[in-house]
């Protein structure tokens, strides 16, 4: 409870600092929250921001869902089979360091600027992070757990469903959270490059005389991202009550 108090104090202090800096430099350079908030309310009332964001997120979800399905499957296979590890690991190491922004011009040539372009960019931006996280989880599953299953006569299918998969829940949830951040980043990169959708709105907001609309757009994106992330964290806790304890250090090692 005490921690929560400090959390809230930190947020209040950050907002106060932002307000002070904003007042000092002016709305043209960095609009203070007292200016951004009315702008935010006005934008939401007007409704276009919600429509654009929903459309962009819909496309992102398709790419992200594909990335999760493939990333989790291949990640588990890599973690449990040396052959799969050998086959996929070099590609994983290569793609995980590849810059998404550099792929954008190529994907524009390949897919145009429509639905599949954005789905593809989101997919390649997030699949490797999902895969890597699940891979580490699958490799680290306590061998004793599997052995106990063996002793009690569990077949491979049963062992997978009742032991391996539950042991991986925390990792899968973390993989989704890391992947989601990368998916949202990729969505914005792709849309800002072709100036369409929500990313396009952000790009155009940069040309307005006040930074308030730009900040309102960024705040909205931030709220969505933090909100979904918290939902995934809660789901992780629900699915695996040992979630927080286990993921404390793992998150850093994987990031």
């Amino acid at each position: 409870m005490k921690r929560l108090g400090y959390n809230i104090l930190g947020i209040i202090l950050a907002l106060a600092l932002w307000e002070l800096i904003g007042r000092a430099v002016g709305a043209e350079l960095f609009a203070p929250p007292s200016v951004v908030l009315p702008e935010f309310v006005a934008l939401v009332r007007q409704g276009q921001i919600i429509v654009e964001l929903a459309a962009s997120l819909r496309q992102m979800i398709v790419g992200f869902a594909l990335a999760c399905m493939i990333g989790v499957t291949v990640g588990i296979a890599m973690g449990r089979s040396r052959i799969c590890d050998g086959l996929f690991h070099p590609w994983l190491s290569m793609f995980v360091v590849t810059s998404v922004a550099a792929l954008v011009p190529i994907f524009v040539l390949l897919f145009g600027t429509g639905f599949w372009f954005r789905v593809a960019i989101v997919f390649v931006a997030s699949v490797w992070y999902v895969m890597l996280t699940v891979y580490h989880g699958a490799r680290g599953v306590e061998p004793r757990f599997i052995d106990v299953g063996h002793s009690f006569g569990a077949g491979p299918l049963r062992s997978f469903r009742s032991i391996l998969l539950p042991a991986l829940y925390p990792y899968i949830m973390t993989a989704l959270r890391i992947g989601l951040i990368h998916a949202i980043r990729a969505m914005v990169v792709a849309e800002m490059f072709v100036i369409l959708g929500y990313g396009g709105m952000i790009y155009r907001a940069g040309y307005q005389p006040s930074t308030a609309p730009l900040l309102a757009l960024l705040m909205t994106l931030m709220l969505v991202s933090v909100g979904v992330n918290e939902m995934l964290r809660l789901a992780g806790r629900k699915l695996a009550p040992w979630y927080d304890e286990q993921m404390g250090l793992t998150k850093i090692r994987l990031s």
Binding site: N7, L9, W91, V97, S99, L103, Y203, G206, L221
Partner: protein
Amino acid sequence: MRRTLGIAPLMFGSLIGGFVLWQIAAQGVSNVVFAPPSAVLAHLGRDMASGVLPMALIGSLAHLVIGFALAVIVAVPLGFAIGRSAVVAAMVDPVMSAIYAVPPVALVPFLIIWFGLFFEARVALVFLMAFFEIVVTVTAGARNVDPALLAVGRSFGASRARLVMRVILPASLPFVFTALRVGLVRAINAMITAELFLAAVNLGALMKQQAQRFDMAGLLSIVLLLCLLGLVAQEGLKALETKLLPWHVRRP
């Protein structure tokens, strides 16, 4: 040792197999749509020999190095400061995760307003993208120093300064290295992002020209170069870590 040896041929084979598949797949379609690896490598060799690519790369490295160095100088001490105090950590944590959730590219309009379109803005983007990654990782590292180690130090009468120098710092150095590694890869991403989203220069300008000419082989050759740069940076730091921090046993 045996383990790594056993898997290495498979990895190598997978890479070769992948390139062969790519070559075959690209055979049927025109070079505009998708270039085969042979064309990409030829393009890479040609541009390297003619000096176009090395010149662009050196130009790009300028803002990469400056931005990354600045980020390290600011972020590592800051991460330690945040991580060693539970109160500060609790206060900074929600703000940090909120800022972390904003895609850095979305800050580009700000960078243009504050720093213009050129060198300063590129350095700023590299700085921003590496900065947050490093702070988050170093904070976590400083927070996770084994309390038993600290207790041993205290029982032997170590002063606060000595505790920091002899226990906290060595214990969190592995995290600092992880932070540098992740930060550097992010910085390389930022380097090319800046060149594509601010004024197009160096590698970014090359990519934009090639995109206009539908020169798929050229585009892929730059992506390949960037990918190699990222791999070299990552593996280099890993090798440095094993050399400098022999007490830290890395989990493979």
